[in-house]
Symmetry: C2
Subunit: 350 residues, 2 copies
DNA sequence: GTGAAAGCGCTAACAC
DNA sequence: GTGTTAGCGCTTTCAC
């Protein structure tokens, strides 16, 4: 083990309290004393023991970020933003992965079985039912990200899934597309309040507004939201001879896979088929063709969420009722919906 | 605060020691007693306080993974693998980002100023000099990942940068390419032992073996190893009228950017220019065209590294000298170097 | 097989 | 402005 406060105090010829004062930036310490202490700290290579501090103060300086998987780009970028903002508040972030599984999410967030450790939780649910809010851990502050789970006991930074998805489809409609496929959800799941259900609702609303009838053949479920599923969804449509001139993938990763699938099928984007994604992950800028997508305001989500959490942790506004902040989205137009005449290729073959 | 061991002990009608025994799976506890304790734990929703446990036992159950940025796909995938393997040993992982900056890396890993907390450190250096090993924190077990920094005081899971890079270039040579550009390093930095320098050495060796003279115009430095830099590097060559029929990007992200840049320039891959990357990140499978790359054996690196670290933490083999494990690499051939006649396009214009 | 008690390193009253 | 001291919740040695 390393040296302790006592060692530092002894070497500096002061009491342990003074050492503590210096470390915690307590203002009323004379410069001479402070320097003596800092000297001793340097000499001994002293580092505070976080366990002891946590035990005593009830604060550990850690928050946890509960997400499906860092490996998914959207969450990697979210984590990046969260870590950065947390650092500004002097907080460390530990990442807890759930795999998007409802049970694992409940486990992570109900606190059951989880040792008591973090000062707060940032939670991006994916598989949860709205009724699950009742089993949230109430003993530690929590902020919800992403989904809109209304009436929960916690603060919530919500993505405007429905209106953002509607805007995405409107973007395609405005470019003359009529046979717009959606990848990543099934009509059965539309009642659900996860991203899938909500974004699908937005899709339906946009079609209705444009007077385009809903064609079930164009609604393509996909198990996971990964590249493989995206590729399979579009090649599936091609094999089945489904006629389509545009694709709205419910996230960018599906979109990147779809782009890949379309290329394999010899379908050119955006000439034959236009494509729009959702998330604005880094890669969409560098795909071939670059991908039009919906930016859900990820970095502002991270900043807002961390700030809300810090406020709750600090106890300020303990009596403030749960707040819901809606993040603002934006369509980022790139090549995959750019220019060119719509509806040739597979669509023309119809 | 939640309930403590005392509460559980009182409710179960046993002593605090017995509760501790149950929690820590101490074998000699009667089933009746154990069940009574477990009941009480359930009723009180008791969760052990990790700070207290850490303070008392000297173990926190956390290891830290020090990487440039989760946001970079390679590291996101590495983190994923590490978290999974750590879980198997009952360890949590906290991610520390350095931005690839030498100072930040030293800071993260020298321990100076960092509170004493984790049981072990997994460190993937990127900007470090070999001499920096002297300032490593020796008070906590550490395993180095990736670079080959010889003679350090720690275990080390090394990527075979030189031979893997040589194999990548050989792969291009075998497909008839002669004007092979390399993106991501400069000849000035070849003496350095970072990934860039080592991989560049492999490039040079392969050329020499193939009897291809080194053309400085084909060695393209790039500040960062991101998509943008990859795109700029290839468009830069096109604008300068440099003749090339293949590109070796020192990582996949550069490669994805290069693919994008080549597409923008109207150069087709692999017909005009073949491309090979390094890392085998998920996306290379779904890029258009799919990307040939070097798989450095990431998941086995993660498993090996965590296992080595756990061994050091547990104190087993405390007298074992530092070990270096070399991970085995593999060329994953995909479309970007597949088929087709080499050296047309820009190369033919030469 | 279970209990009593010491103490890990720190923070925060409270004295002075 | 600095020192004394109690105790956070747990593990662990040692009795019994």
């Amino acid at each position: 083990m390393g040296s302790t406060m006592h060692d530092v105090a002894r070497l500096a010829g002061v009491s342990i309290k003074t050492v503590s004062n210096v470390i915690n930036d307590y203002p009323h310490v004379r410069d001479v004393t402070r320097n003596r202490v800092l000297d001793a700290i340097g000499k001994l290579d002293y580092r505070p023991n976080l366990s002891a501090r946590g035990l005593r103060s009830g604060r550990t300086g850690f928050i946890s970020l509960v997400i499906p998987a860092v490996r998914e780009n959207y969450f990697a970028e979210l984590a990046h933003a969260v870590i950065g903002q947390a650092e500004r508040h002097g907080l460390w972030v530990m990442i807890e992965q759930t795999g998007g599984d409802r049970k694992a999410e409940l486990q992570a967030v109900s606190g059951t079985g989880r040792p008591h450790f973090v000062d707060g939780i940032l939670f991006n649910p994916v598989g949860l039912h709205p009724s699950d809010v009742s089993s949230f851990d109430r003993t530690v502050p929590m902020v919800l990200l992403g989904e809109r789970i209304f009436g929960g006991p916690t603060d919530h930074v919500a993505i405007e899934n429905i209106s953002a998805a509607r805007a995405a489809v409107q973007h395609l409609v405005q470019r003359g597309r009529r046979r717009i496929a959606v990848v990543g959800a099934s009509l059965d799941g539309m009642e659900e309040v996860g991203s899938a259900g909500l974004r699908l609702q937005g899709y339906c609303q946009a079609l209705e507004e444009a007077g385009i009838p809903l064609d079930p053949d164009l609604v393509r479920p996909s198990g996971a939201w990964n590249r493989e599923a995206g590729a399979l969804a579009v090649t599936g449509m091609v094999e089945e001879g489904v006629d389509f001139d545009a694709v709205f993938t419910l996230n960018d990763t599906l979109g990147l896979g779809a782009l890949r699938g379309l290329a394999s099928a010899g379908i050119s984007v955006p000439e034959d088929v236009a494509l729009i994604g959702f998330d604005n992950i880094d890669e969409t800028l560098y795909s071939v063709p670059s991908m039009t997508t919906v930016d859900p305001g990820r970095s502002s989500i991270a900043v807002t969420a961390v700030d809300l959490l810090v406020e709750r942790i600090s106890g300020k506004g303990a009596d403030t009722p749960p707040r819901t902040i809606r993040s603002s989205f934006e369509i980022i137009e790139r090549e995959s919906t750019g220019s060119a005449a719509p509806g040739i290729g597979t669509a023309a073959a119809h």
